[in-house]
Subunit: 121 residues, 10 copies
């Protein structure tokens, strides 16, 4: 796997224009693709971000470029979803965030992964 | 019936990439088939897993291979659903899991079975 | 009306494969037919069972055969629904069960009957 | 208006087959028609009964005949709904009942009336 | 059966405002009701008129009053549809007309009748 | 199999009220049931009649009673559809008729049969 | 009824920007209202224009103002549809045009009127 | 691959009850499964038969048993569809037949195969 | 109005990769906006191109830039649709092309314009 | 651009199992991705093949591998669609084939390309 630090640096932010409010931002990214580390075959999915910003908002074009960096990356569904969460928390530092990945069928099975911050338990 | 231990060994796991979180994984498996122990006729159904992993995640291709081993197995709806739960708990050891099987009609009747861990009562 | 005991004996059970769990079984039976005791005309409906088994599960083919025995039986909607509940409780002895019958229109009216154990009040 | 007592006598009942239970009966009657007392024009609507029987159940064909008696009766929406409730309570004496009438448009307006026993306030 | 001539006289017409054109008029009448001559029970249906007027158009309120006259008339589906056609042809004298009646279920059966002028064969 | 002549005699007709026209009658009968001659299990289906009457129309209640006579009759899908056609042609003698039967699934398969008069080839 | 000439003068046109072509223009006007000349009650409907312009196109705001002039006009469905056609032909002089009015229910009946130029017969 | 002759012999026929007519029979078989000869993985699909019988009709249970024989057979989509056509033509000898197979996704691709007799070109 | 020649020059083309074939290209552009020349208010619509290229294809980004140049242009629906057709014909020189504009409601009216080359008459 | 010959060689074929018939094969490939040669950004689309094979059929896994080779290829929509057609004709040599590509929005525009053999003009 590539060095995660490099991917994360692609994410750019700008100042939250209204940090005095708790407001919600959703980004739907239906063109995500990465590579299965076991078979070498491409995976396709949708990534949905739902977050309440604190001091920063993620810049949309940089988010697209960040997600494109996984295009030729070999990584499991569970790992990529958590890695996106790690990067998002490190750079955007939101008050709350939920990241869901929904994957097209592979071998007759299809999967969804849901990660939330703060921890829902 | 075959020795359950053998089927269970087909399931492979990998380390949960983020065990510090409680996140949710869903797998939809619409191509399940087994055999009715009473009539010898094939049954068809969908198996849906929804779980919060602890230290381990189930590897998707091994889950497919595991489910395929029931292809020629004579077993009731209720038994196969609970047996999948037993195997899943033994190998994946999740924090929480819900397994639902939904079956196509037989003799004009169609059935669903829902098993949860920990026990919902 | 025929002797209810005879119908009940058609129901076969098998040992609950996982009595240590509280799990849920649903059976949808859309091809039920009986006869109106007032007009002698056939009635058509769907019977839905939702139950948590205790020591026993109902065998599906015997459930089909049991329901077919009402095919030429003259009996009201309310009576047949409660009689199925009585038989189900006597033979399957579930922890919980809900039985709903949904009937096609007669004389421009259509009806549903819902019976639950334990009593919902 | 005709004598309400006569209409009420059309309703027939039979013994609740399982008075030891609280179970629910729904009857949908989409072919109700009466006459507007102001314009003399016919009104069309659906009457929905949802009740928990006590000692008695309403016989379905008599319910149909009872509702047909309003066919040429001049009566307002609100009055007919409450009069059906009065008759139903007097004859069937249920533990609980909800009666809803839903009317087709008149002059570009359409109406629903909902009456419940015991009183919901 | 009542004297058809009387019913027919309820239909009022007005001069086609543009007889130089072949234009099309549709009237949907979803609140038709008559009585089954065999059982004495009410029937419910929709009547749809589609016609090209010649010198006359049917006045809409009179059409409603005309259809209401069948409210307590005992008449078969096939007969009422053809009788409406006879009356419409006699009074409105259209260039072309199609009349379709669609009936709610009776005894588990539901019917549609379609009559056209000129004859479609 | 029972003597077909007897069933056929259940069908009653009445005089076509408008034999001078070619008009179309549709009857949808969704509550048909017969018995599989091979397994002895009940079959369920819908029968749809679409016909242009000549001198006679089929009476609806007799059509219902006729179809009910198949309730305990062992007969294949193809045979029952053609037998209904034979009986309908013999008694109603329509100018044109199409009969379609649509059956609920058996053993995971579901079937439709379509017969037309005159022959469509 | 008011003098039709005045209404018609509300329609404004502009030069067809491409008279060398046969192209199609559609205008959907779902907010039309006029008054029933018989009952004095308001009618509501949609007017749809589909035309191929010749030398002129109708200006959209003037079309809206023109249609609004019918707001307090007592006029039958058939008459208003043909009058709009007359005005449209007189002012816009299209190569082809189809005008359809679709009306909300009145007294349980709803109607559509369709007029075309040149005549479709 | 197994000997095709053996599979074919599973198909049973019965005499067409009305060979004097050209009527149509449809069978939908949504639970077909075979094995990919390249990967050894199971394939899942639906087989639809639409045919006009000549002297013989296919017996439905034997058709189910015949299709089940492909359960563990390694065979391509194109080959299995044509082989079913060959067997159907050899045993049932219909006047006309169309066989369509519709397959669930494999590797992100999903396929349909359509074969007709007589040849459509 | 601005000089049309300038807008047209924004369109870029590239060589048709397969001029030996008649193949079809569709571009849906749902984000078109221009200005009403009468009210100064913005109009919003979709432009759909369907064409068979000859020697040239339109480059997609230049098409987007071309359409954006109408953002502050005062122009009627009919004129802009024909002007886009003129520019497309002048620069792309297709074998066939159809351009449709679909506009959001203005003052309660919504419009569509359809232009085709060669002329459909 | 890479050498087209190399991509083409990825396509594998097998002998048409029934070349004596004209039958139809459809493959839906919703996970196609290539790169825009102008912006360097990824494009996403669906490729649909519909063909009548002659002596050869395309092997499905090789078709998947072939399409994956465009993953990092800079190529226009029109060019890639025609190049797939060229490769398909060269290797599979079908009697007839239609290839359609449907692309997700770029810059607010979305496109479809349709190529057919033999030429539809």
């Amino acid at each position: 796997m590539s060095d995660s630090t490099n991917f994360r640096d692609t994410l750019e932010v700008f100042d939250n224009p209204s940090p005095e409010r708790n407001f919600t931002i959703e980004h739907h990214c239906p063109e995500f693709t990465s590579v299965c580390p076991k078979t070498g075959q491409p995976d396709y999915g949708t990534v949905v971000f739902t977050y309440v910003p604190d001091k920063l908002c993620v810049e949309l074009k940089s988010l697209k470029m960040y997600l494109q960096r996984f295009r030729n990356e070999g990584i499991f569904y569970e790992a990529v979803t958590n890695r996106i969460m790690d990067d998002f928390l490190a750079i955007v530092k939101p008050r709350r965030v939920r990241i869901e990945t929904r994957w097209t069928p592979r071998g007759g099975l299809n999967s969804n992964i849901i990660v939330e911050y703060p921890d829902p338990s």
